[in-house]
Symmetry: C2
Subunit: 88 residues, 2 copies
């Protein structure tokens, strides 16, 4: 069965986020007031074949640990959005 998986990779709390800082500055320059904080991360959408949603989640976590996220500076969240197709 095929699963849509959404992975969010965000800079760890307290770690310098230069991209977020740059966006914050640019928003101020454009006249957007009231922006207190900006953090920029990555969003990775995967379509995975797996036996179950637990299996898909396990795979996605392994991918984060090995490739998608920097274990020193980033945190990740994995969300299984939906299963598509499968045995009727």
């Amino acid at each position: 069965m095929s699963y849509h998986v959404e992975v969010r990779v965000v800079p760890r709390e307290g770690i310098l986020d230069p991209q977020g800082k740059a966006v914050h500055g640019a928003l101020s320059n454009l006249g957007f007031a009231g922006v207190a904080e900006v953090h920029v991360g990555r969003l990775i959408r995967l379509e995975l074949d797996a036996d179950s949603s637990e299996d898909a989640q396990r795979s996605a976590i392994a991918m984060c640990r090995q490739l998608l996220a920097n274990p020193v500076t980033e945190d990740f969240e994995v969300q299984i959005l939906q299963g598509v197709g499968g045995p009727v």
Copy 2:
């Protein structure tokens, strides 16, 4: 009142996504089978002061149009996660 806003910026359907392709290739090389598709986008978390959640949403959409997303190649989604603090 302060609102947590999550903005997802993703490559538009059908537009070349070189970063997604690169991640797909790297996952295959690492031995992850069963990956059918990969798309890589950006996740922007904002903390905004606004009068209402509609107001926060409007601001965030304007930010996407002016800075956060490329209107030619990317789509965006804005989600108001929660309001924090405010008049008791």
